[in-house]
Symmetry: C2
Subunit: 203 residues, 2 copies
Amino acid sequence: MGVKERRARQKKYLRQEILDAATELFVREGYENVSMRRIADKIEYSPTTIYIYFKDKADLLEQVCKETFARLVQKLSKIMEQPGEPVERLKRGLIAYIEFGLENPHQYRTTFMMPIPEGFDHEKYHQADSPGMQAFSFLTRGLTECIKAGKMRAMNVELAAQTLWAGIHGVTSLLITHTTFPWAGREKVIHFTVDTLVAGLAG
Amino acid sequence: MGVKERRARQKKYLRQEILDAATELFVREGYENVSMRRIADKIEYSPTTIYIYFKDKADLLEQVCKETFARLVQKLSKIMEQPGEPVERLKRGLIAYIEFGLENPHQYRTTFMMPIPEGFDHEKYHQADSPGMQAFSFLTRGLTECIKAGKMRAMNVELAAQTLWAGIHGVTSLLITHTTFPWAGREKVIHFTVDTLVAGLAG
DNA sequence: GAATAAGATTAACATTGTTAAGTAAATGAT
DNA sequence: ATCATTTACTTAACAATGTTAATCTTATTC
């Protein structure tokens, strides 16, 4: 009676295959430049098959981003688990975030830079276990550690974390969007921004 | 023999009328949600007429944004001309930038948050007299004044300005995109970010 | 008044996301 | 084993999009 399970397995397999094809195309050419028909061609199914597994194109993208940001959370986890000076660790986390964004510009753009589609479930989106929120919680935790260790003054941690997020999101998104701007060197800008933010918070 | 001039005037008039219609629709509903046909309907011309005055939809948007950011430059000019303590003036400028972005979210998004279309004239885009670059130059000038007045340590002004831009762009774009995020108060976040950035630079 | 040029329109194309209807095969029930 | 049903998928089509080519209309020029 493993019939149902085999079917479920097959379904899951195709779903993942669609997801992989979509990921590759989205990453390479960007969401807007990839049509449902192109994705379908890639996996050699008809376009409408995708709609059996995903509600629509936006849903497909959402799932792609979910996968990507699970990887970010993992990356940040590893950094935050490491022992050592908490301010340095926080800085490493901030830089890791920025680098991740630059390595996955399309996913970063769609998750953090695109308008949240109307009729979207905001509750769900900002739930504590969503990848975005998990990533954000590294900031508050990192800051709290710094304060506890006496390396930073006491402050409104939530507010400070939001400012940190604004800062690192700012560099990331600008570097992604304005690739041809005469930057004073990508690495330089990244490190100077992180240093400035942390110095500003340390007070 | 004022015929040619009258014609030119009429052409200019219709061009502006298209621009105004497009602006209103873009601002109200966002670039992607406005079709060329809708714009044409609004001014009671056929859709193809727009193509006589503008290369394509992207060009139309570009002109709309140009107009908007001329206004930003004006706003920043006024602030920077005012006398007073240079650090406070710089802060006021930063906050004005953020507020302008929040007041014109669609234009801000399309100018600073959207991928620069391929085959775009980067030379032209990052020319010194483009509105974006003019706005940016307020940062370097503001910083230089602070250093000259001995209120800030000597530093790589270009690099510091880019970090400032990253910071204020970060808050602006995040507040635009993630309206439902549990912010610790918009005003609070804005001011705390500006204060943190400036404090970090002052050193 | 005829020729010419400019301005605006009609019709159409290719492409998009998406849905409704239909088909074929695997599964379940009798 | 046969019939009915569910499942997986496809074909065909729709409505909307940006954009172009061809055409018509109107105004200017000679």
